[in-house]
């Protein structure tokens, strides 16, 4: 299947901004046997004075751009085609959580895929008692890691209400959990803290969802903007699995990965810094269609 993805992010400044710099992470990744980025284009308006591409620590494609002159809005357009492979046959070969912990202690690899980076905490996701208790209540030591991940993800989905007005991009996971409301970012952050409290390596995934459901399916939450979900490590044989707590589903061919990180701050689509005295408004629009 070939997905055509289009993203538009616009920033409007109340006062003209100058000397701005942005770090953009929106381009889908190429992942062996799963997704293959083919044609792609990232445009920034106004045309930046300087622009460069790089790959960050976790292997995500990044674009740096700088605007010197005054401007009142900045727009980022991304369009690309991604070839999505048919789903792999999948079965649960994950370790029990206790064995998983013992394996983690023997790991000595600090490469970008190493579970060691995902044991937490991070400055953005400190441990939280309420979330830990929530996870503990659901935890079955005799079950596999993956079974526990799915149970916790599903329970979190059921406990939370999707509410785009309850939180912002800066809301703490602990606060969102207290409200039992939030968006995909909050769902994912809470789930990461929950899994890490049990010693399960867990990370943040940013990406895209197909806009229209397959025939007979339901439209997924979060398809009109960039989406986020969770990945968890089930041991050397299982490797990483991905779970979308916002939609209570294991990740299949409806999800396209753009970035892997420890939390939102590692993969935020646009990180920016500018000199401006006023506020700013941001908009984002996404369209993901199957074109072949």
């Amino acid at each position: 299947m070939i997905y055509s993805i289009r993203l538009t992010i616009a920033h409007y400044y109340d006062q003209p901004a100058a000397n701005s710099r942005h770090l953009v992470r929106v381009m889908p990744r190429t992942l062996a046997n799963r997704q293959n980025l083919t044609t792609h284009l990232l445009e920034v308006f106004p045309e930046p004075e300087s622009r460069s591409e790089a790959v960050d620590f976790f292997g995500n494609k990044t674009t740096f751009c700088a605007h010197r002159d005054q401007h009142t809005e900045m727009t980022i357009h991304m369009s690309c085609n991604v070839d999505i492979h048919p789903p792999q046959k999948w079965r649960d070969v994950s370790l029990g959580v206790a064995d998983l912990g013992r394996v983690c202690e023997t790991l000595r690899d600090l490469g970008s895929e190493s579970p060691l980076h995902f044991l937490g905490p991070t400055p953005r996701l400190p441990p939280n008692g309420a979330i830990r208790d929530f996870a503990n209540d659901l935890f079955h030591p005799s079950d596999s890691t993956v079974a526990n991940v799915i149970r916790i993800g599903k329970a979190l989905h059921d406990a939370m209400t999707f509410d785009a007005t309850a939180t912002t991009v800066d809301t703490d996971a602990a606060d969102a959990f207290h409200l039992r409301r939030g968006v995909c970012q909050d769902f994912s952050h809470i789930m990461i803290i929950a899994l890490q409290s049990l010693g399960i390596p867990a990370g943040y995934v940013s990406g895209y969802l197909r806009t229209l459901p397959p025939p007979g399916g339901v439209k997924l939450e979060g398809a009109d903007a960039m989406h986020a979900w969770v990945r968890a490590w089930g041991g050397p044989d299982q490797g990483w699995i991905e779970y979308d707590p916002t939609n209570a589903t294991l990740v299949g061919t409806d999800h396209i990965v753009a970035g892997y990180g420890r939390d939102y701050s590692d993969v935020s689509p646009v990180r920016g810094y500018l000199r401006s005295s006023g506020g700013q408004q941001n908009t984002q629009a996404v369209d993901v269609a199957i074109v072949g």
Binding site: N19, R21, L23, E49, S50, S52, A54, D56, F57, F58, F64, A66, R68, L107, R108, D109, L110, S114, L116, H117, L119, G120, P121, P123, S265, R271, G272, Y273
Partner: protein, 806 residues
């Protein structure tokens, strides 16, 4: 005679030593810098001790206060942080040095150099191949869960070697007489500058002794370090700058001092911008490239775009400039990971694997509780352990969060500790609570022994590491080694390395090579510094103006006028913004600008003369005293006149002593524009008043031009003669025109960003105003015209700001 002398001396010596015991018990301290175990003075201390003995208590008191006076005058302060506010405190110099013989110093230096090389190797590995982790010499979590290990810097290390160029260490002497490293100060070590200031102060305390004693001087070290910075910069055209967190940082005074001493540009994050992949500094002459930053920010704060996004201290894009190879830093950004406490637990093993032998100078014994064997050791020996955060970079003994488990520990508590270590072991370390050696300090007229440790700096030169021959000691406030921090009342002392032979005495000022680079760097004026100088000028002038009004007001009150009389009411309403008829409120009108002036000046510590700072501090203090304390009415004019003399003295300092740099021009422009605008206000108010009211005389009085008027005009003052003298006279340094002309001359000499033939916008504006004033008649100086002129003056200020200071 001679016998008597020496017996007298012996007597004092006994007295000096009588109090020098453990906790006042009169026993010799067991592990002391000055006394050997048998209670005799160690040879390296003996000549100093004799010198101390030769001085009377009165002599000593006078000398100690001379040293303190130097530190106050030089503005050496430290910031004390409370829950809510930070205050500046006097630098707590202990006036007794710590003396160490050169042989022992050599051993210390060799040990620290070995350690520095090991740290360089480890840092390269942390940001490179990670073999220490992959080979199992270091637990992976110490990096993967370490907030000081900066992932954006991984892979960058390959280009920038050596990664470490300036280090400090804190060392202490254990009960066995051997030295231990207490902490590695990798990031923003604040040592060297304070050591120099201590040394200069000590030169004032013991001038004769110091000149003749064979004590290693510090200047040679800085010469070497300065040259190595220039070498790291290489053949690039960019500047070398010291990046400071700014005046609110406790070590800002040291940053300013080092920048001035080494001839570096002192910059803050807001001065920097990355353009076309290059780090640039905003100066009054436009953007200028920076090639090397001596970074004194915590690494995570260096770049809000790629590191801590909450950082207000760094500049966006700096990490990318490093990656692109256009910017170098001392030390490598991310080097702070080496300060991680838990790393100390593994250094001995890494040293044995890398060097083939243990470290000549070990660090304080440390156990990481993430490993069972180490954890068990901490639990079993908890009575002599300190326990704290494994990833913190604050030395454990200086950290208020450190837990000690000593004699008071009951059974439950020790069980709690064991539980905590088992569940959260990987976030905790145990460190042996050390007993430090003691050194003499002077307390209440006696020598007493206090625990101490020493901070030592080293810099990389062409010939390898160069260790500063001296340093500064931190001395505990009591018998407890944990009270070393100045925040908790500890003191600092100068460390003297003494030689049996004569030592050479270099000084940084004599090296011609360094003098050349100094002048080149100082020609650049960062826009922020210019802005602060401009405001310094404006605030001081505003204060002076308001002092003159205060004097005019109270001279009338002292002559018997009531606050409610016509003239006092007129002055308050028309000239003082309707202030309440109250001395404190009126005094606040100059107190506040003076406080702001001091604030501006302290932000540009590196560009403003110590004499100027001293004058300003005195002014602020005296002005505040006048506002705060009750001054009898009759004394007010006298007091305020004395303040006015001080403020004029400050202006004199600016115009007689300051180098005619761009910085001086901005300061002078600030004074001129403020004075001209204020004079417009005074004239607009006074010239519109009833001719009989005395308002014209008031204007002349505030404008300090009563005498000038008498010489220039043979008539009693009227609105025409006052307008002529105070608005249009080109020779009167109190007139509007005089200051517009001066501003015009300054602006003509500023570095311009436009091409040579076209006048800049601000130059055009000020020339137009000057021409208008030059061609005006006194009768044209109506209140409306004066208000317009004032608006023109502030328009010039706005353009100047947008053009040079933004």
């Amino acid at each position: 005679m001679q016998t008597q002398q020496s017996s007298a001396q012996r007597k004092t010596q006994q007295n000096l030593l009588a109090s020098y015991g453990v906790q006042g018990r009169g026993q010799a301290p067991p592990n002391d810098e000055m006394l050997a175990t048998n209670g005799t003075i160690k040879p390296v201390w003996s000549s100093f001790f004799d010198h101390l003995n030769s001085l009377t208590p009165q002599d000593l008191a006078a000398r100690f206060s001379r040293g303190d006076q130097y530190l106050r005058d030089a503005g050496v302060l430290y910031r004390q942080y409370d829950e809510t506010l930070s205050t500046e405190r006097e630098w707590p110099l202990s006036h007794i040095p710590v003396i160490i013989g050169e042989d022992e110093w050599q051993v210390i230096s060799d040990g620290l150099i070995e350690r520095a090389d090991l740290l360089e190797y480890i840092l390269g590995d942390f940001y490179g191949d990670n073999t220490l982790v992959s080979s199992g010499q270091l637990p992976a979590q110490l990096l993967s869960q370490n907030p000081a290990w900066l992932r954006p810097m991984v892979g960058v290390a390959k280009k920038g070697r050596p990664l470490l160029n300036a280090l400090s260490f804190e060392i202490g002497r254990g009960p066995d007489g051997k030295w231990w490293v207490i902490s590695d100060l990798i990031e923003a070590p604040s040592t060297a500058g304070f050591a120099v200031e201590n040394r200069i102060a000590m030169g004032r305390v013991f001038p004769n002794f110091f000149a003749n004693a064979n004590i290693y001087r510090l200047a040679g070290y800085f010469q070497d370090f300065q040259q190595s910075l220039m070498k790291i910069k290489g053949r690039t055209t960019g500047e070398v700058a010291l990046l400071s967190p700014g005046p609110m940082n406790q070590n800002y005074a040291e940053h300013a001092y080092m920048a001035r001493y080494l001839g570096l540009l002192l910059v803050e994050g807001e001065d920097l911008i990355v353009q076309d992949g290059k780090a640039m500094v905003r100066t009054v002459a436009g953007l200028k490239p920076i090639s090397l930053l001596w970074n004194r920010l915590p690494s995570t704060m260096f770049d809000p775009l790629e590191l801590d996004s909450n950082s207000m201290l760094g500049a966006a894009g700096l990490v990318q400039a490093i990656r692109d190879g256009t910017l170098k830093t001392v030390n490598m950004v991310g080097a702070g990971v080496l300060e991680t406490r838990a790393l100390m637990a593994f250094l001995p093993k890494i040293a044995r694997a890398h060097l083939g032998h243990g470290l000549a100078m070990p660090n304080i014994a440390t156990w990481w509780c993430g490993q069972k064997s180490q954890r068990d050791h901490v639990i079993a020996n908890s009575a002599r352990m300190m326990v704290g955060d494994a990833f913190s970079t604050v030395p454990l003994m200086a950290d208020p969060h450190t837990t000690t488990f000593d004699t008071a520990l009951g059974g439950t508590q020790s069980q709690q500790l064991a539980d905590l270590l088992t569940t959260n072991g990987h976030t905790l370390v145990g460190q042996e609570a050390v007993t430090l050696s003691t050194t003499p300090v002077w307390e209440r007229g006696q020598l007493v022994a206090r625990p101490m440790c020493i901070r030592i700096s080293m810099g990389r030169t062409e010939k390898g590491w160069s260790v500063m021959p001296g340093g500064y000691a931190r001395i505990s406030a009591g018998d407890d080694a944990k009270a070393l921090a100045m925040q908790r009342g500890g003191q600092v002392a100068d460390v003297w390395v003494s030689s049996p032979k004569s030592v050479n005495t270099p000084t940084l000022l004599s090296a011609p090579k360094t003098a050349a680079s100094r002048s080149a760097t100082h020609a650049l004026l960062p826009s922020r510094a210019a802005d602060n100088l401009f405001w310094l000028g404006r605030y001081v002038e505003r204060a002076e103006q308001n002092m003159r009004m205060f004097r005019a007001y109270f001279s009338r009150i002292c002559d018997g006028a009531k606050h409610s009389d016509t003239m006092p009411t007129y002055i308050r309403d028309q000239l003082m913004n309707g202030v309440a008829p109250d001395a404190t409120a009126i005094a606040a009108r100059f107190d506040e600008p003076l406080a702001l002036a001091l604030q501006s000046a302290s932000r540009i510590n590196d560009r403003f003369s110590p004499d100027g700072m001293m004058a300003l501090r005195g002014l602020v203090k005296d002005a505040k005293a006048l506002g705060d304390t009750f001054v009898p009415l009759d004394d007010i004019p006298v007091q305020i006149s004395s303040l006015l003399r001080q403020v004029t003295g400050f202006a004199g300092l600016v115009h007689e002593n300051m180098y005619r740099s761009d910085g001086w021009r901005f300061l002078s422009i600030g004074i001129s524009l403020e004075r001209a605008a204020n004079m417009c206000d005074v004239l607009a108010a006074c010239l519109s008043a009833e001719p009989a009211s005395g308002a014209v005389d008031l204007a002349l009085e505030i404008g300090d031009s009563v005498v000038s008027h008498r010489t220039r005009f043979q008539i009693a003052a009227n609105s025409m003669s006052a307008a002529d003298l105070l608005a249009l006279d080109p020779q009167n340094p109190r007139s509007v025109r005089y200051h517009i002309t001066r501003t015009k001359d300054h602006i003509a000499n500023l570095p311009t960003q436009a091409d040579d033939h076209n006048m800049s916008h601000v130059a055009r504006q000020v020339l137009l105003l000057e021409t208008q004033l030059a061609t005006s008649q006194p009768a044209m100086m109506t209140p409306e015209a004066l208000v317009q002129i004032k608006q023109d003056i502030w328009a010039i200020s706005d353009t100047l700001n947008a053009y040079h200071l933004a």
